[in-house]
Amino acid sequence: MLKFANNWLKAAVLEVQEYVRLVWAVLRGGVSRPFYYHDLIEQLEVIGVGSLTVVLLTGFFTGAVLALQSGVTLDQFGARPVVGRLVSASMVKELGPVLTALMLAGRVGSGIAAELGSMVVTDQISALRALGTDPVRKLVVPRVIAGLFMAPILTIVADFVGMIGGGVVAVTQLQVAWSVYRTSVIEGLYVEDAWMGIIKPFVLGFVIVSIGCHVGLRTRGGTQGVGRATTQAVVAASVAVLTVDFFVTRLLFSLMY
């Protein structure tokens, strides 16, 4: 039992150490040459444009169901017209960033882990190194930068369509006038909320992609290992999203509010 705990602890410490080393290599790779620009463009397209549909659907229906649920509760206080405030504040501060990040963890994190994992098990990563290319600079840095910039953009899109979704429900189901809903949405938003909604996705985007890359590059054991890495990447990234979200929110509260 003690041996098992010892081995588990060692493995956990090693994993953290390797992750920190990767993050450090990414930071160095991001500010020095060579930089693979065309890989960055490709990743901006894959991560950003490729995730647009899922983010649009998630954002719209989250906003819609939020309006539906809160409408019933607000009715008890005769406050149905302020449903917009609730939708906008919830979407911008919390649901937009977190749900977008969870969608990215499922779509992007797993994809990156599977892609890099298969490159590891088929010796393509070793081939890259043998051909004089640093795999971190070529594969990880462009993906992390793309994740860093596309996560906030996708979150803004999710927030916007979420408010539209909430508006559609408010008008069609709750019989709230569009102008009343719009005014309520604007009144519910503060500058601090907007900052929080923008800063959080930067951090979450970085976390999701760097975890996907880390897990992918540490894949062992053939195709079965690739499957395992994909699952691990989604689980680790999703848990990290929720955990990091709490700590970043706490930090931003103490800094801005």
Partner: protein, 283 residues
């Protein structure tokens, strides 16, 4: 006495010349993963233009030697020299410069599956050099012509057969004109005819492009074929025929067993060995 001294001096001078010509030197290299010992104090040298064929059963540490030579792994002990530079203490940035003189053909090819044959073969030249694009295109077409796959230039690796993939991997490894080529099981899983085609490419590169080679294999037929054949240009054609005894001696065999070198010598010496393990391995 004077004659003996002179002979001794001549032997020493010859050894020194040989050491100078060594492009790869392994000096008491050891490696272990946890409790599993892979290599125990392995030492050998590869001389310029020569071939070293590393034999051994599965898990004997054959491919490990190639990965250590490329600096992909680090040894636990000993020293590794490539082109006069000690690589086992180098960082990744310095290793990238050393790797410029090395080419590696991985087991199964390890081609980049999202790139075409052209992009695979020219990868190093396109990505890691500032050569003009038309010069790179020309070199890619030249090396693909050398391995007889010119018409496959725009295909994806998934559209190629196993043998074609290995030949594209050879073309990729030679595109940047390395001085040393490392082959990891280049014919494993191929039929005898395709294996001979791959063997011929290895012989052509060694004899016509003067590339030093290290071949890791457990396929004895291919190992002896490469060691005992030579390529020559005759009237504009490339001819592959049995090599002279002197040429055959330039190919040296190493047999690995339990992390140690169990045999080192020429094809002829290997055939004549009475060691029970070698006899069993060769049968």
């Amino acid at each position: 006495m004077a004659a003996l001294n002179s002979q001794h001096r001549s032997v020493l001078a010859n050894e020194r010349r040989h050491e100078d010509e060594a492009v790869v030197v392994f000096e008491n290299v050891s490696l272990a993963f946890d409790d599993k010992v892979i290599l125990r104090s392995v030492s050998f040298s590869l001389f310029s233009g020569h071939t070293k064929i590393i034999l051994g059963g599965s898990g004997a540490g054959k491919s490990t030697i190639l990965k250590l030579m490329l600096g992909l792994w680090r040894p636990d002990g000993g020293a590794i020299w490539v082109n006069g530079q000690r690589i086992d203490e180098m960082g990744e940035t310095e290793l990238i410069k050393v790797r410029a003189s090395l080419g590696m053909v991985f087991q199964e090819g390890a081609l980049f599956d999202s790139l075409t044959v052209r992009e695979n073969v020219g990868y190093k030249l396109y990505e890691e050099t500032d050569l003009p694009l038309d010069v790179v295109h020309q070199r890619v077409e030249e090396v693909l012509g050398f391995v007889g796959l010119g018409e496959y230039i725009d295909k994806m690796p998934s559209e190629l057969s196993g043998g074609q993939r290995r030949r594209v991997a050879i073309a990729r490894a030679m595109a940047a004109k390395p001085q040393i080529l490392l082959y990891d099981e280049p014919t494993t899983g191929l039929d005898p005819i395709t294996s001979t085609t791959v063997d011929n490419e290895i012989i052509k590169l060694r004899d016509l492009e003067e590339v030093s080679s290290i071949i890791v294999t457990h396929n004895l037929r291919d190992a002896f074929y490469v060691a005992t054949h030579a390529a020559e240009r005759r009237a504009g054609r490339i001819v592959i025929e049995p090599a002279s005894a002197e040429k055959s001696d330039e190919a040296e065999f190493i047999m690995l067993r339990d992390g140690l070198i169990a045999f080192e010598g020429s094809a002829e010496e290997l055939r004549r060995s009475n060691d029970p393990y070698l006899t069993e391995f060769l049968s």
